[in-house]
Symmetry: C2
Subunit: 460 residues, 2 copies
């Protein structure tokens, strides 16, 4: 077994195959960088100073993998792939040597790369993406450099208001920078509907971050090859550092060059055993893929969608490893659940947003409620806002969004499982969720929102 | 509409009927005590001093109900019921007057009463149950009285180690009493399997509470009509106050006297619209019931079970009110979800315990894991233990139990919805629950336990 990319998906696959098959399977994992099995999602928290890094972010070191019998080769980049000949071509980035290796089974876990739009100045020094541990280290060292160079607070512009964007904006504020977030959407966190995103905006502004929305970035201004500003429409925002938070795209150039079929998102397409398939649905023999480089089955629409999350990567990797190790496993898909934290605000969503539902031609009703994380009278009850979406008429639950203080967001799991099982908003509202005063009002806030959405959906 | 008992179920019904039908419905609610719509579940926290009471525990006062057009009569006890003649006989506890009232529709929300076993001394002064606001006030005034009477810490014995028992034991410790919990079961909190209950015991002992298990109480020792000790087997435990935490039973004497059929638990039996039925399943015309006085449909077994929880009472009451108000609603049942907090420990369960599964003839596998509430490297990650039960062979999820620190227990909701939908442990393990480092390890602890249970269930 040859594994390309020794992070969540690849090494979950390798570990699980080894666990099941032991010496019956020989595994070589090639990794361009110097790290294995790290938490990419933890990198913004490392930069913010919440977490000591990078060591704490490493779930399993190369040595630990080797002790389990997996031959991990760091600083080795797979530069070509031949799925007919079952070979990979590998460059040792240290020595420059190039060698071919054959495989019986190939696991592609090449991950994702931050989106870098083709803008003037995008390649200037000080324009930073955040995806790998090396990226995180680069941001921190750039911050040191900027700090030494500037008098007064340095200025950061974060481009893009998604998860990484808002997390990085908070991290920069906490480093004492003067921070502007520039986003194309009407509100930051456009994974939420705008009426929920505005709550995120308010929290960020309250935290001292300038938020500029509805603004398309036209260029990065540079001086001596360094970023010194961001131009968006008529406005210019001075910047000592520019952080790209525009999301990621699947890192599938290697696969594309090998002639593998990519979906609309640029991700690899697999069956539910995580075997790579072509445009006709036929297996590409011996090729498996999982994690940020693949599209996942979307249970909401029956289509495929690219969602780069460590939890999917781990599960898909484990599915691959189980199948390689002689077992039988499938990945059952996703319902677009995501959770994040910015400043003191917890943020979660699952299912469809209003615009997703409209695009799909669904007649949607929405209900938004303000409630509390505990019984209103109980100490530590925190405010939370829940929005529920349901289909008019049928009452089918379509999605739920939560923005609130401590103890709010993980409640999205109830909504996620309701969607997973195709429940109606009414059924979620009436289901047996846990109640006691230190944990919830007598109707859980998610259930209040679902109930109101059900009432609206059912009303003539 | 006549409502008997103006608490969660009765007043949810009344409010919802009024909301839907307005002046088309006339509602009189008779309540023996002086309170309406209060949080019985909050009473231990009031006694412990977490919550200012009793006002904070009142969700809606009699005046608020009256302003909404509901005729609430406090201090009025319904002493007889004639379901043929459609009348209730009501005693005004103030004046002693007795009057008959007719009804078109009757809502029974008579609640539950603490179990008082028929033991010598059980009726002595200082043997206290905890169910109503009056009970709570009685405990607090007794504690004052005892405090004035004793030198050094007063001694409390709590009989029974269920939710109320452990909550009351904690409350007594926080009042500075010397507390012994005496329980018949092998471990306190026998709503959990004993291997999880032991974690509760350890937390209570760490908090300074003596825990005596496997001990049946034989008698309350009395002196001058006052409790001064508890005898269990060969042992005697001195006590200035004895708190009964043996659970509750449905308060259905009125219904029984009227010839209504009661289930095995002593609770009223209803259809899914909350209409009272007889032993043949035939409707008792015009009689509705909900809350602690009824049995609920148990989705796990298809049978009926008595679970006294405010959240069920509110939902059942709302179902009654919707049906009375011209709408159409059903209560879909329960899956035995419950959650509690003792000392710093959060406790939750849903579904079947090992002994429930065995009794039902199910071949059960179990997996217990120790994990953390957040990514292990994230600040504030707290330990949590999760036990998952699945059926051998089929892999059907049977139950989940959680004991852990802050942020653990409400995760039971994911398991509750998995049971609600009849999911397998594998499907729960692979479902799309929310992940980000401040909220969860990359595999949610509930999913790790479910995964291990699935592995065991599927192994030959």
């Amino acid at each position: 077994v040859v594994v390309v990319g020794a992070d969540a998906a690849g090494m979950s696959a390798a570990s699980q195959a080894k666990r099941l098959a032991g010496d019956d399977v020989e595994i070589v994992a090639f990794e361009r960088q110097q790290w294995t099995s790290y938490s990419a999602c933890g990198i913004p928290y490392w930069i913010a100073g919440d977490v000591d890094g990078p060591d704490a972010l490493i779930a399993r070191t190369p040595e630990e993998h080797r002790r389990r019998g997996i031959d991990v080769r760091l600083g080795h980049e797979v530069v070509a792939l031949d799925v007919e000949a079952h070979t990979v071509t590998v460059r040792d980035l240290g020595s420059g040597d190039v060698q071919a290796h054959t495989y019986d089974e190939l696991v592609l876990g090449t991950g994702a790369t931050p989106i870098r739009p083709n803008l003037p100045g995008i390649d200037a020094e000080g324009v930073l993406g955040v995806q790998t541990i090396d990226d995180g280290a680069a941001v921190l060292s750039w911050l040191d450099e900027v700090d030494a160079r500037t008098s007064g607070p340095a200025r950061a512009v974060v481009v893009g208001g998604g998860y990484i964007g808002v997390e990085m904006a908070e991290a920069m504020v906490r480093h004492g920078l003067d921070v502007t977030l520039v986003d194309l959407a009407a509100q930051p966190m456009s994974t939420l509907d705008p009426d929920m995103g505005v709550l995120v905006r308010e929290a960020m502004e309250g935290f001292g971050c300038r938020v500029v929305t509805g603004a398309a970035v036209d260029a990065i201004e540079t001086k001596d090859g360094r970023a010194f500003g961001v131009v968006a429409g008529e406005r210019a925002f001075p910047a000592d550092v520019v952080v790209l938070g525009l999301g990621v795209r699947p890192a599938t150039q290697l696969a594309a060059d090998a002639g593998l079929w990519l979906g609309d998102s640029g991700g690899l397409v697999t069956n539910d055993r995580q075997q790579v398939v072509d445009a006709d649905g036929a297996l590409v023999p011996g090729v498996w893929a999982g994690g940020d480089c693949v599209e996942s089955f979307d249970r909401l629409t029956g289509g495929r969608i690219h969602v780069a999350l460590g939890t999917h990567a781990n599960k898909q990797g484990r599915v691959i490893g189980t199948n390689l190790g002689g077992g039988e496993a499938t990945f059952p898909g996703i319902v677009r659940t995501a959770i994040s934290k910015v400043c003191d605000l917890e943020i979660a969503r699952t299912g469809l947003r209003e615009k997703d539902a409209s695009r799909a031609g669904i007649d949607v009703v929405t209900a938004t409620v303000e409630s509390t994380t505990r019984a209103g009278y109980f100490p530590g009850a925190e405010p939370m806002t829940v929005k529920a979406l349901a289909e008019r008429g049928s009452g089918r639950l379509l999605g739920v969004q939560i923005v609130g203080r401590a103890g709010s967001a993980k409640r999205i799991d109830a909504a996620a499982l309701a969607l997973w099982n195709g429940m109606s908003a009414r059924d979620l509202a009436m289901s047996d969720l846990a109640y006691a005063p230190p944990f919830s009002p007598v109707w859980d806030p998610v259930q209040i929102a679902a109930r109101k959405a059900a009432d609206l959906a059912e009303s003539p």
